[in-house]
Symmetry: C2
Subunit: 217 residues, 2 copies
Amino acid sequence: MNRDRALTIAENQSSELAERLRFIYELDQLKNVLRQSQLADGSRRENSAEHSWHLAMVAMAMAPMADEPIDINQVIKILLVHDVVEIDAGDAFIYDDALRAEAEAQEEAAAARIFGLLPEAQAKEFRALWDEYEQRSTPEGRFAYACDRLQPLLLNVALGGGSWQNHGVTADRVKAVNGAIANGLSTVWVAAEQMIDEAVEDGQLRPAPDRHAGTAG
Amino acid sequence: MNRDRALTIAENQSSELAERLRFIYELDQLKNVLRQSQLADGSRRENSAEHSWHLAMVAMAMAPMADEPIDINQVIKILLVHDVVEIDAGDAFIYDDALRAEAEAQEEAAAARIFGLLPEAQAKEFRALWDEYEQRSTPEGRFAYACDRLQPLLLNVALGGGSWQNHGVTADRVKAVNGAIANGLSTVWVAAEQMIDEAVEDGQLRPAPDRHAGTAG
């Protein structure tokens, strides 16, 4: 018995069952995609599957503080699906603009391949959830993205800098990237901004570069 | 900056924000709870956080095959929450009856402590989701449990026996434990049973003990 024979048994019952099981097996690989963030105890890097679970729980916990009315069930589905494309495209560090740009085409192809494993109606459903995350044009898409920015910020803060420090990110960029928290959880962003400011004071996060430094004197 | 100071900043804004962030930090530890199951590629053991994500996706993928009408949103929430108690109680291997019995009181205490970190209304909401999984008295609770039995079976099948082989579990017990798949995904159970039978034929899973062996001759 192995994966291929299991899929043959499923196929003999119905092609839709085989398609769904193939998709389920494919998803297992997201557990091997490592992110830049570490766990809050610093023991190892976080993978994108456990990160997706954590985000869905963040959304459930933070839902009562949402700025706009949201359908929390839709937010949860968006967050469960949003990183699946990383199975093919990998995790592109959010502060690496070049890598992020390059990843876009790969993620597009990944969405077509991976969601395309499912029966057609479901492929469309999953693809629409991913689009809603990417476009952030709905309250649910914005809230999902706010959660996706809040969780790594909390991990970095617990680690005394975490992936900010490892990569020499500056505070102005941290605020620019994570400012999206304010598009859904504006009161939480007030607290998050203070955490960022104190991390700079502690020397855990580099301050914004002085724009006049190069031309001074 | 560290976790405690972040929570103080949150507390200064509102006690409810601090309670929610403390809960979110607590959840991070589920990523360190290891299950008996390995990933489908055999590279390492699965943790309960990524397992919970995988189950929610299994539920979404398999929902069209459900035997009864189900509210898939409720199923997803049940699955996201169902293993949180393992942060305190650990993962009790399903084929270890003694350990499972011992775990029950620990899981009860864990539910009180961990969900109790949240503001009261949310503590009740999360607790009710966990109860729905444990009791399996609703179509959603049964479907969630069916998914929780199907996913490790698929992993074990891909691994040529996996945790069945490591612990010398016999086919009759595998069928007894996983037969709950039939309470929600009965057509899938037909295929799963065939996978189990072929695993026995392959020598990857021990056959049921012969009840007459001891008294024969």
